[in-house]
Symmetry: C2
Subunit: 403 residues, 2 copies
Amino acid sequence: VTAATVSGTPSRAELEPRLQRLRDALEEGGLDAALLVSSASVYHLSGTAQNAQLIVPVRGEPLLLVRRDLERARAESALGAVEPLVSLRGLEPALRALALGPGSSIGLELDVLPAADYLRYAALLPDRRLADAMPAVWAARAPKSPWELEHVRAACAQGSAAMHALPGLVRVGMPEADLLSELAYVMRAHGHEGTVRFRGLNSEFWFGQVLAGASAAVPGPTETPLAGPGLSASQGRGPSRRPLAAGDAVVVDVTGLADGYVSDQTRTVFLGEPDARLVSAYETCRAILDACEQLLVPGTPASALYERGLEVATEAGLDAHYMGFGPDRIRFVGHAIGLELNEAPALARGVETPLVEGAVIAVEPKLLFPGLGAVGVENSYVVRAGGPERLTLAGDDPIRVEP
Amino acid sequence: VTAATVSGTPSRAELEPRLQRLRDALEEGGLDAALLVSSASVYHLSGTAQNAQLIVPVRGEPLLLVRRDLERARAESALGAVEPLVSLRGLEPALRALALGPGSSIGLELDVLPAADYLRYAALLPDRRLADAMPAVWAARAPKSPWELEHVRAACAQGSAAMHALPGLVRVGMPEADLLSELAYVMRAHGHEGTVRFRGLNSEFWFGQVLAGASAAVPGPTETPLAGPGLSASQGRGPSRRPLAAGDAVVVDVTGLADGYVSDQTRTVFLGEPDARLVSAYETCRAILDACEQLLVPGTPASALYERGLEVATEAGLDAHYMGFGPDRIRFVGHAIGLELNEAPALARGVETPLVEGAVIAVEPKLLFPGLGAVGVENSYVVRAGGPERLTLAGDDPIRVEP
């Protein structure tokens, strides 16, 4: 395997601005270095997803310490220093050689780093301060380069293929889980890589959601507007074996995955004529999306989109149905996407992080009616000073299918 | 949603022996309670995979504290105490009420609990000793009940369906990734739930592996015998777009998933006539499997299967090819399965844990030849005093397909 035989290997020129954003944010946070281990972070900053630990000092060159496979990591990564890591004991001398000895502050991915590993670091790296690298990691990830956007566009094309196939696939009597299987099959045929990265413990995820009729309003364990019944209690979320029925609103939320980058898109199918409240609520979702689009410019605090959407929902008398129902409401209306489906910032209450030029943001207004169903629409956008560039290009009228 | 509307909800009688094994192992380890959060552990011991924290004291009743969705957790779980958890601050008084106040020892899932959560617990639960619950969790999980085995059998039936369809799907020129898509589609049509749980950071997994010819011997980031090139550097593992070719040995490793329980099975397709070394190595894989089967009885140390397989490989002159090649060899020949694909014990060098009656074990001898390919065979078994019961029933001759 050489770099030439695999796609998705960023050049050093592509990596450098990412590394510099990380360094700047680390320094601003009072840290001397980051030590990163999640595959998304390691890939983002080194160009390889092999099993490795990436040290990025605020000053000096990054060092990629590879457990396996070293040869592949060397072929794939444009970094200059790619060395073997035989044992975690190798970390201490490596840090010391980078002037990260006792007294230095090392940022870790505390949101996903297992506690056992954290405790191991604490034991192996005496007299370092171990802190949270995630604010810096998200600062490095937020703006996407033209090279990255190409991959997001390829992922969006997979989503479009699914949406294009959708009207021909939907039929009364088909279990909602089977419709998701069909859409997954279509996206795989268009190059979908399978395992969308959803950061965090218990973030099981499979291509997206197909939730029809009352299923769509079933709350669940996830911090997402739609949870769904799932196929069994052991899963507890996602599509079920409930058959699609005439009069269903079918919410279809699919994620593409190309060269590690995701897309996120939702459309609603009207299978026949759903309840008038759902039909009208869909127009409110579009009004929320329109209102949010106005705010997708650099400098907008992420929370502003959630709050603006809530205003529009409230004007329509649907605030109790916005992003969940009643006490189950989720306080966000979207999120950044990239190498992970749930990148920061979330467009959530209290998140004041300003959007940056080049960020890719999914806005997904959804309205839920317990016992009746849900409707929603979602697009992914690039934040631009002149206004957002929309990446998910399928039309956002309801998809009407005769039962 | 009520318990009646979802499958996979274990009765209290089903849960009780699991809880008792956990309590016994906690006590043996000097712990007063476990506080569990991974969806697999919470589901195993409470019957719901909703977002919750499960406290199991050595003495007294378990308490399930639910973030969301409370109503579903109450409908699904047979536990008596299922209460809301509004904030993590609720944990301290809850523990105190269970006589787990200052001075008590609480076991956590240190292998997957994020460091940030660990630090939060440490701050919110002063004067408790926080220790590792995993030895007790694995002791609780190891023996599968007849009820659990029914679900494993259902998962095996999905794998059998894939293997049955395989000869009709394989064709020269098809990318190996596309063959895995086809097999995934077949398994979904047979009820596969999609997201196989593979415990640990960066354990991205999608249905299994299809690796053909030289691809099969490409090492990668995973602690598994077969890694594969993957579709891009951002994934770095798994099938690639390499087209199947006449003369390929195609290793097909698929996992079923029914009501949360997995199956694991590997077969090798000979697409025409592979290199004689591969054909002969396949017979060595079968000899290893036969030798390991003899050891699948209660009391065998897990490592004994790895070592026995190595002996057989060495007798055949293939020790350098056993479970990887040269320095890339993985020191195991299989693993327990259940609610996660990589349950303990691993059949690995140095793991002296004895197999127990009712454990479900996947044995997967594989032999790798760099530049040429790999072969392998794998079955899942129940450990029984009278000798193992094989769960993956498809014949294990090489599957011969004319190119």
